[in-house]
Assembly symmetry: C2
Homo-oligomer: 151 residues x 2
């Protein structure tokens, strides 16, 4: 068993700042969306994914993959969004097992109403604190990490 290479002070500081900053950031974004628009961050992201998909619809499995959550999670989330009137289920005609989640007009309107506040919060809490160089480094580093973790 190889000797453990512990984190040095700089690495420790990086790790803590990143973890804690991220936790605070996500929490702040969640609260902003919840109080200003009555949507959770998770649900908001599902609406975004649907809005970007061709035909404003996505297979359940694709929605699960794209949102980095489990299929059961998507099933329940879509049920929730369906009850809210923002999404409807549409049967898949080329695969009788399949289901599409499709953004409704109300869902699109909800998203349009919520987006400015959300983007404002993302700027206020993140991008306003990043120099161009920092942003570029973060983009490149996390793109690499993401590729490593999901090849």
């Amino acid at each position: 068993m190889a000797e453990t290479r512990w984190l040095d002070d700089d690495e420790q500081a990086t790790w803590r700042a990143y973890l804690e900053g991220t936790r605070l950031l996500i929490h702040a974004l969640d609260r902003q969306l919840e109080t200003d628009s009555g949507v959770s961050f998770a649900d908001y992201e599902l609406l975004v994914l649907l809005s970007e998909a061709p035909g404003h619809r996505l297979r359940m499995r694709d929605l699960a993959d794209a949102s980095f959550t489990s299929r059961s999670g998507v099933t329940r989330a879509v049920t929730r969004l369906e009850d809210a009137g923002w999404v409807r289920r549409v049967e898949c005609d080329d695969d009788r097992r399949g289901m599409h989640a499709e953004l409704t007009e109300a869902g699109a309107a909800k998203l349009a109403a919520a987006a400015p506040g959300h983007v404002g919060a993302v700027r206020e809490h993140m991008f306003d604190h990043l120099s161009q160089a920092e942003q570029a480094h973060i983009r490149e580093a996390y793109t690499r990490m993401r590729a490593h973790l999901r090849p």
Copy 2:
């Protein structure tokens, strides 16, 4: 109402890479700890906080603040860790409302056993993909973000 400044392409890419990379990273760390040591990432972090505290003990509220979770969450987590034998509750002598959570010897041993694998995973999934410059930029940026979000 001011015009919304939407994210440009680079900002979009940064935001997505960061969010998705972070999700994958946390998930990977959680799985590593769970399968190799039978501890969740959240519980592991509580043990770390206690191990770093003077006397290996912390007031419940301080533990809640330091772990960025709610007090009820800490109450339940400590109960869980207590049942596992890794933590014990100790009454506070200068504040009869107060409670300390204190790391037991078994808890310290558990932590010592789990730490190398965890640090290895943090290196493998994060620091191994970061240049010195990137690490420094991330440290500075997130330190600033954290300070802004929790003054």
